[in-house]
Structure formats: structure tokens, C-alpha cells
């Protein structure tokens, strides 16, 4: 095989992995949108908040230490313990569940029946609030997240692919991030678990019933409030997974919350209401933007990844307004 072809393959492989990470974020959106019709802009900030909390708990940071020091004039910053990753993750999940309950009780309980745009705005308000809250709680400096995931490229793959090149080609093998491969596996497991949960457990079925029809679900005795808290908790859990993956990759920092924006075109492409859509959309966007940057990017000055996904989704939607797997939009007068 020629080196150029192998390079293209490498770009595609990396695109697929990036797509999985986009899909992870998009999954959280789909969960909430299906069950409550809320388009949750705060999903990215939730990922950031979850990752911040995880780092904070593992490192034994004192929450709000900056605020406490400013008001009381003390100098506290760490409890002085280091917890193992697993304990940290469990505690963070507990906090995300608490957060889900809080969001449902304080905000969305009062907004039932409002127009979608109002709900959307409320989640943007929530995103603003959490951004400030997370920074105030754990400080706004960039943190490294170390939960024992391997870093760097995979030597095995590099060695294998080196032999693929044709004789005489200068080719040094593919660079594939170990972390990306683990993220792919985790995403696959997560999606499988979510599908099993929603198909075979009582709560999962209740969740789907609520997604189909609120009133009908209410009338057969499903507790809407509980289901919504459950959905927000699940979204919080997905956000934590996404936060761990992205945080381990590029540090826990503000830009983590912007991955929500990356997940939007994925959603559009796949359809807002479809879990497989989120995965397939993520893969298409990931591969598409990497290939575009690889082929066309150098001609127009690079950094096309910023907008390519949106333009692709836009063009796609012109031909299929409900996305790949979205429910068909039927309009009646």
C-alpha cells in the first residue's frame, strides 16, 4: 500500500475515534431530549463540572476554598488525602445524582408545559450558573486528570502498520492514541448498557413510556418527577464519562464545556431523538472533519474543523430535515 493511502487511513481511524468522543457527549443530549423534550445546552458544562468534581475529590481539594479564604481570611486549600480513582468516580456519580435532583426540583418542575425555546434558554442559564459554580467550587486553573488511563500512542499498532507499506516507501506506521481506543470501547459498553437498561428494566421501560407520551405515562401511574430525575442522573453519568475521556486527553479546563457545541452538529445529523443516530452521526462528523482538514484544509488555511461539522450538518438537513434517524416530522394545520 502506498504511504498516501495509509496516511488517509490513519486520518480516518483518528476521525472515527474523535467521532466516538463526540457521540459520547451527544448521547447525553439525546437521553434528556427524548424523555423531557428539553434541549440541554448544559450537557458540556455538566461534563466539565463532573470532571472538575472528580479531580477535586481525588486530590482532596477543599471546595470553595478560594471563597472561604477571601471572606474569612483563612488559608485552606487541601484536605491532604489522595483517593483512588474508583472511590472518586462513585462519589462524583453521587454528586451528579444530587445535581439532577436539584435541577429537576428547582428549575424544570416549574417549567413543565413551557415552550421548547424557553426550556432551551433555561438550560443555557443553567450552563452559565454551573460554569461559575464549578469554577468557584474548584478553582479555574487547568487540572490534570489521572485515573490510570494509558497515555500516548500505541506501539503495537505502529509496528503492525509499518509492515503494510509497499517496499521502498518511507512510512513509519500509524499513530493511534491508546486513550482514544479505550474511549471507543467505553463508549460501546456505555451504549450497550443504556440500550439494555431502557429495554429490559422497569425504570428503563418507564423512561421510554414518558418519552412517548407524558400524559399517557402519568395516567398509568408512572412518577414523572422520578423519571426526569433519573434521566438527568443518567445524563450526568454520561457527562462524567465524557468528562473523564476528554479530561484525560487534554486536561480539565474551560474549553471542555465547548465540546457541547461540537456535539450539536452530531445531533442534527443523527436526529435529536435517536441513540443510534448520535453514534452514527458522531462517526460521520469525526471522519468527515478530519478528512476535510486533511485534504482541503491546507488549501484554505487550515482550522476548518471549527465549522466543517456545522456546514455538513446544514447541507445534510436541507435534504433530510429530521436527520438520519430522527422521527419523521409531520405537520398538521
Amino acid at each position: 500500500m502506498s504511504a498516501a493511502f495509509l496516511n488517509t487511513l490513519e486520518v480516518m481511524a483518528n476521525g472515527l475515534m474523535a467521532g466516538v468522543l463526540y457521540a459520547l457527549v451527544a448521547l447525553g443530549f439525546v437521553l434528556i431530549y427524548k424523555a423531557s423534550g428539553i434541549f440541554n445546552y448544559a450537557q458540556g458544562v455538566m461534563a466539565l463540572f463532573a470532571a472538575l468534581t472528580l479531580v477535586g475529590i481525588m486530590e482532596g481539594q477543599v471546595p470553595f476554598s478560594h471563597l472561604i479564604n477571601a471572606v474569612l481570611g483563612t488559608d485552606v486549600h487541601h484536605f491532604g488525602w489522595h483517593l483512588p480513582a474508583l472511590v472518586g468516580i462513585v462519589l462524583t456519580i453521587a454528586i451528579m445524582v444530587l445535581f439532577a435532583w436539584f435541577v429537576q426540583q428547582v428549575i424544570f418542575k416549574h417549567l413543565v408545559g413551557q415552550e421548547p425555546i424557553i426550556l432551551f434558554m433555561a438550560t443555557i442559564g443553567l450552563a452559565y450558573f454551573m460554569e461559575g459554580f464549578g469554577d468557584m467550587m474548584w478553582g479555574s486553573d487547568i487540572k490534570t486528570l489521572n485515573v490510570g488511563l494509558p497515555q500516548g500512542g500505541s506501539f503495537a499498532i505502529e509496528d503492525i502498520t509499518r509492515t503494510w507499506a509497499a517496499e521502498g516507501e518511507r512510512y513509519y506506521g500509524m499513530y493511534i492514541d491508546n486513550l482514544d481506543m479505550i474511549a471507543t470501547m467505553v463508549a460501546a459498553v456505555l451504549v450497550g448498557a443504556l440500550v439494555l437498561f431502557s429495554q429490559y428494566t422497569k425504570q428503563g421501560r418507564a423512561m421510554r413510556a414518558v418519552a412517548d407520551d407524558h400524559q399517557a405515562a402519568l395516567s398509568v401511574g408512572i412518577n414523572l418527577n422520578f423519571i426526569w430525575v433519573l434521566v438527568w442522573s443518567l445524563a450526568g453519568f454520561v457527562a462524567l464519562v465524557a468528562g473523564i475521556m476528554w479530561g484525560a486527553k487534554s486536561g480539565v479546563q474551560f474549553s471542555l464545556s465547548l465540546i457541547a457545541l461540537k456535539a450539536l452538529p452530531v445531533l442534527m445529523l443523527g436526529g435529536f431523538t435517536s441513540i443510534p443516530g448520535a453514534i452514527v452521526g458522531g462517526l460521520i462528523i469525526g471522519v468527515g472533519e478530519k478528512l476535510f482538514e486533511f485534504w482541503i484544509g491546507p488549501l484554505v488555511g487550515g482550522a476548518t474543523e471549527n465549522w466543517f461539522a456545522y456546514v455538513l450538518a446544514l447541507l445534510f438537513l436541507v435534504f433530510r430535515p429530521q436527520g438520519l434517524f430522527g422521527e419523521k416530522i409531520i405537520e398538521r394545520v
Binding site: 417549567l111 415552550e115 434558554m121 433555561a122 469554577d135 468557584m136 430535515p321
Partner: protein, 369 residues
């Protein structure tokens, strides 16, 4: 007692169709105009102008523009920042003289007066807005909102990479040269506070007047018909293509003018990703929502609220309590977010709805019912 229609007899159709049918409103409106034009320019200094009045006036224009699109025509847009960037860069090119390169030779138009530069920038933005509005014929609701993000990211990227747009400057920034109207500078480093204020105020008053009358007229009714249900509107004879595209054009025209003023008069130097990023789109959308969808007054109220709030918080927290600035910034995020959510819960129709309720009460006062 004062605030009612009774006793204010209209004797002609022109009287009957005026913007403010209630005398009290009319007098109040003229009083506000008088204060804005004849009193404030003598009182303000550059701190007040730069911290409060200029951002308020410019954001008010942007909010009116977005309100036309979102509030009247029902097409949610998150591309405001990108369209403001188009206005800013177009204004810059018109101010410095548009140049064309043919075979390595530069042919340049003479620079255009800043007043007309701003207006022409509006027209350029209107054209770009129509272009990005075309998909709205097929895409609706949230899908459209996300689709307009394409405009946001693509345009910001474009102005980062397209050297012609920033006259090949090494820093990639655009800087407003000194330009003036009637010999008084309104852009550049040596401006008087009152001159920049009046320059923006003139735009605000004219544009608000046009917007108010557009939305009351047949164009506005078509927009609202499309917003309420586009299929039904089509059946009663509204052309959805025309209505949606005019909404995008008018809205982008306003947003473009706001962007041009934001760059040339307010900031003076602009780096596109920083000044016109996605945050700007959300900020203007917040103004529209908090102010009230489908209300020109609401656009002003929302702009005033979101311009004043950070200034107020900063003064209280950093100036009053002596907190570190980063802590104050975090708290500001929390408070803005919490306020937005509170507002949506208590009054989803915004400040304009509060004002309507107050007016209803005033009509009846002093009787309870």
C-alpha cells in the same frame, strides 16, 4: 387616572394609527427622546459612555434585529455574533476604501463617510443573512437554531483567514481609523464622549422607529403569521419564502449595523474570535428573551438589563466588598445564570410582559377591577 384611552379622541385615521395611542405614552416617549438628545450629552463623560451608554445602544440595535427574526418571525438564530462580524468587517472595508487586486495591481475606491459605511455594512450583512436564511425554508425549530451555528463558526473562521478582509495587517486585527461626521470625529482614538453617544443614538432612534412600523404593518403581520403556524400562513396567502427571507434580511441588516458600530465606534479595534464569538450570539439572544419576544420595547429593556447587571455586580463585589476579580467573575456567571432561570420561571414572556401588566393595572387605577 392619567393613563387611559378615555377622553383622547382621535378624529383622523392618521391619529388612530399612531404608534402610541395613549397620550401619557406619547408624552413619555417625547420626554425620553428630549432627555436622550438634549440632556444626557451634556452630562456624560467617557466612563459612562464606554461602560453603559454605547454598549446599551449598540446591543439594543442588535436585540431589535434578533427580535425581528426570533420574536416576530419565529426563526431561532444563534448566528448573531457571525453576522455582527460581517457588519464590522464590511464597515472596515468601506471606511478604508475597498480595494481590488487585478494582476498584482491594487485598485482602491476612496474611503466612504463613516455614516454611510455603517449603513452599507448593514446591507452587506443583510445579503449574507439571506444566504444563511435560505435553509430555513426546509429546516425548522431547533434544527434551524443549530444550523445557524454554521454561520457563526464559518464567518468567524473566514474573517480569521481571509487576509483581504483585514487589509493584510500583521496582527489579523482591524483597527478603526479616525473618521468623523461634520468634522467631528466619532471613531479612532480622539473622540469626544458626547459625539460617539449621539452618533449611535441617531442610529438607534431611526432603526427602532423603522422596526416598530415594520412590525405593525403588513410585513410584520406576515412574519407573525409564519411564526404562529407556517402552513396555515401559506394557506391564507402569505408567501413563506418571501416572509422568511425578508425577516432574515431585515434582521441581519440591524445586526450588521450593530456589529459595525460595535467595532468602529465602541471598541475601535477588534479580533474577530474574541469580539464576535459564540458568547455574543447567546448574549443577544438572552437580551431578546429576557426583554420579551416580539416586542421592540423588550429589546431595549433586555439590552439595558444585561448591560447594567455586570457593571453593577462588578462595582458591588470588587469595589464594595473588595473581593478578588476572578472570584467576582465566577459569582457574576452564577448570578447571571440564576437570574435568567428565575426570570424564565417567574415571567417567561420577559420584561415587556411585566410592563404590559403594569399598564393594564394603570388603566384601571385606582379601581382594583
Amino acid at each position: 387616572m392619567l393613563y387611559r384611552e378615555a377622553g383622547d379622541y382621535k378624529t383622523s385615521y392618521v391619529d388612530d394609527g399612531q404608534s402610541f395611542p395613549i397620550k401619557f405614552d406619547r408624552i413619555g416617549f417625547y420626554a425620553v427622546l428630549l432627555v436622550a438628545f438634549a440632556v444626557i450629552p451634556f452630562l456624560i463623560n467617557s466612563y459612562w459612555v464606554n461602560a453603559i451608554f454605547l454598549p446599551f445602544l449598540i446591543y439594543a440595535i442588535a436585540a431589535i434585529g434578533l427580535n425581528i427574526l426570533v420574536g416576530y418571525a419565529g426563526q431561532v438564530s444563534l448566528g448573531t455574533g457571525g453576522f455582527m462580524a460581517v457588519g464590522a468587517y464590511a464597515c472596515y472595508k468601506f471606511m478604508t476604501g475597498i480595494d481590488i487586486w487585478i494582476d498584482g495591481v491594487q485598485y482602491a475606491l476612496p474611503p466612504i463617510n463613516i455614516f454611510f459605511s455603517v449603513i452599507l455594512a448593514g446591507f452587506v450583512t443583510a445579503f449574507v443573512g439571506v444566504l444563511f436564511g435560505l435553509p430555513s425554508l426546509r429546516i425548522k425549530g431547533f434544527y434551524l437554531a443549530v444550523a445557524t451555528l454554521a454561520a457563526q463558526f464559518f464567518l468567524v473562521w473566514l474573517f480569521n483567514k481571509w487576509e483581504w478582509a483585514y487589509n493584510y495587517s500583521a496582527s489579523g486585527q482591524i483597527n478603526a481609523p479616525e473618521r468623523g461626521v461634520f468634522g467631528i470625529p466619532v471613531t479612532g482614538p480622539a473622540t469626544e464622549a458626547w459625539a460617539t453617544y449621539l452618533f449611535c443614538l441617531v442610529f438607534v432612534v431611526i432603526l427602532a422607529f423603522i422596526a416598530r412600523n415594520l412590525t405593525r404593518g403588513s410585513v410584520g403581520r406576515k412574519w407573525m403569521a409564519i411564526r404562529d403556524m407556517d402552513i396555515a400562513a401559506e394557506i391564507i396567502g402569505v408567501n413563506p419564502l418571501r416572509a422568511k427571507l425578508t425577516a432574515f434580511a431585515v434582521s441581519s441588516f440591524y445586526v450588521g449595523i450593530a456589529g459595525a458600530l460595535f467595532f468602529s465606534v465602541y471598541l475601535g479595534a477588534v479580533e474577530v474570535g474574541e469580539a464576535f464569538g459564540i458568547q455574543k450570539s447567546f448574549l443577544v439572544l438572552f437580551m431578546v428573551i429576557i426583554g420579551g419576544l416580539g416586542s421592540i420595547f423588550g429589546s431595549f429593556a433586555g439590552a439595558a438589563f444585561l448591560v447594567l447587571l455586570p457593571v453593577l455586580l462588578k462595582n458591588v463585589l470588587v469595589g464594595g466588598l473588595g473581593w478578588p476579580t476572578d472570584l467576582a467573575a465566577h459569582l457574576e456567571f452564577m448570578i447571571v445564570g440564576a437570574l435568567i432561570v428565575t426570570f424564565l420561571i417567574l415571567e417567561p414572556h420577559g420584561l415587556a410582559q411585566l410592563w404590559r401588566v403594569i399598564k393594564e393595572k394603570l388603566r384601571l387605577w385606582p379601581f382594583p377591577h
